[in-house]
């Protein structure tokens, strides 16, 4: 597994660097029309980072729920470790989504926060999954901790699409701006988007495997300590 992890890290590094190069040197500059003037929007480049981390974050939450459901049916501890590790990574990537979204709102509107549907969805997701970590820390018995948090990871993942739609039925002052709709995606832009998406996914899998191994080692250490009569 260690070899696979290293290989995935290497692939991720190559794809992410390639994505960076594609975003800045190959993908065309977006030009929009505003008050009769043509403006070139350099800050749009953040999307080549923002979209891949957002995708990875959602993927990690879904994978976390799948492993959570697997734990509930099989009751094997490794599924709890995988579920926990995945939700942790989902949260980490979620923080990056909010941070990169924030850079965009800052450069576009000059404010640090806008109640813009996609960012708001992510804010709620972060709160939703914060509850996951509080729940874990509130249970001391290991198997109950695993059982309750696995159930919560499933509940949270079911909530995600509802949050997505609910945000959009609230009348909003701001239009959906963090969107590529209406912008014709040129092939080079699509490539510049897909390459970092794959890179970020590889990075996620590598990190998941690494975290999983550390959790296994942690369990081994606890076990040995107890064997020694700790």
């Amino acid at each position: 597994m260690e070899k696979a992890t290293k290989l995935l890290f290497a692939i991720a590094a190559i794809l992410l660097l390639a994505g960076l190069a594609l975003a800045f040197f190959v993908a065309p500059q977006i030009v929009i029309q505003k008050n009769g003037q043509y403006l070139s929007v350099f800050s749009q480049k953040i999307f080549y980072f923002h979209v891949p981390v957002a995708w990875t974050s959602l993927l990690a939450f879904i994978v976390g729920a799948v492993f959570g459901a697997l734990f509930l049916t099989k009751k094997e501890r490794r599924y709890d470790f995988l579920s926990f590790a995945s939700v942790e990574l989902g949260f980490l990537f979620g923080v990056l989504v909010m941070w990169s979204g924030d850079i965009w709102t800052r450069s576009e509107w000059g404010t640090w926060w806008e109640w813009e549907p996609r960012l708001t969805t992510y804010l709620i997701l972060m709160l939703l999954y914060s509850g996951y970590f509080v729940l874990r820390s509130a249970v001391s018995e290991e198997s109950s901790k695993a059982r309750l948090s696995a159930a919560y990871s499933v509940i949270a993942s079911v909530t995600v699409p509802f949050t997505f739609f609910a945000i959009r039925i609230i009348p909003s002052v701001h239009p959906v701006v963090l969107s590529m709709d209406g912008v014709a995606m040129e092939p080079t832009m699509l490539v510049a988007m897909l390459v970092p998406v794959f890179g970020m996914t590889c990075l996620y899998i590598a990190l998941l495997l690494m975290r999983y191994q550390t959790l296994l080692i942690g369990e081994e250490v606890d076990y040995l300590k107890n064997e020694l009569g700790g």
Partner: protein, 254 residues
């Protein structure tokens, strides 16, 4: 340990006389990851037997009870309760089990009758009202049947708790530290009630009370770290050995 194997041998011989033991556990293990909550537990409890279960907190006593009660599935090993597999016949087995705990398991804002009616419905007890009359007479609470449990004394609550546990005529009774929180007088009342029902039930009791636990039991067991460290029948029980193991494992650990 020799004693334990002797006992197992003896159980094997007894098997011909009494074909189906009420509880039969073979190499039962419950693990979570690396941790062994229960590690290859084997024992048998005959019909009408009384097993006293000692051990420090976290030794696996509750887990063992929960597995017998069909609430947790074991990781490996075999278990038969009244000849049935708890992982497959959970509803049938649960209908045969009763629990008397240190907490009364009663709703304080309901009357005695309402409490029994509620649990009776949960157990689908036939002719429930007659059964309730019968039980309330038995525990001498007939005159207080419409009063809220909140207004009961500790002893009365305990009596009602016993009635509650017997409502569905269980064949196996779990006693979960029934002596804790009872004064000596209440213990006397409790044990005389226990005496009345002793013959037709099989008992498994978790307790920290050595004196009472050994007096009541037909078999005594100490669990430590998920393993049986002491297991003897009452007739050949080596009290010094019991006490030294108990001191070493239970007292020394807490």
């Amino acid at each position: 340990m020799n004693r334990a194997t002797e006992l197992l041998e003896k159980e094997k011989n007894e098997k011909d006389l009494n074909p189906i033991p009420e509880v039969e556990v073979k190499k039962l293990s419950k693990t979570f990851g690396k941790r062994k909550v229960l590690n290859k537990i084997s024992f048998e409890l005959e019909k009408g037997g009384f097993l006293s279960l000692f051990g420090p907190n976290g030794a696996g006593k509750t887990t063992l009870i929960k597995i017998i009660a069909t609430l947790i599935a074991p990781t490996s090993g075999e278990i038969r309760v009244a000849g049935m597999d708890p992982t497959k016949n959970s509803a049938v087995i649960r209908a045969k089990l009763g629990l008397i705990s240190h907490s009364p398991l009663l709703y304080l804002d309901l009357s005695a009758e309402e409490n029994l009616q509620f649990y009776g419905t949960m157990y689908s007890v036939p002719n429930l009202n007659e059964r309730i009359d019968e039980l309330l007479d038995q525990v001498e609470l007939g005159h207080r049947r419409y009063d809220l449990v909140r207004t009961y004394s500790k002893g009365m609550t305990q009596r009602l708790a016993i009635a509650r546990a017997l409502l569905h005529k269980p064949s196996i009774l779990f006693l979960d530290e029934p002596h804790s929180g009872l004064d000596p007088h209440a213990v006397d009342i409790f044990e005389s009630l226990l005496d009345n029902i002793r013959a037709e039930h099989t008992f498994i009791m978790i307790t920290h009370n050595i004196e009472r636990g050994l007096a009541l039991c037909s078999k005594a067991m100490i669990l430590y770290n998920g393993q049986i460290v002491f297991y003897q029948g009452k007739e050949e029980l080596d009290i010094d050995m019991f006490k030294s193991i108990y001191r070493q494992r239970v007292k020394g650990d807490s």
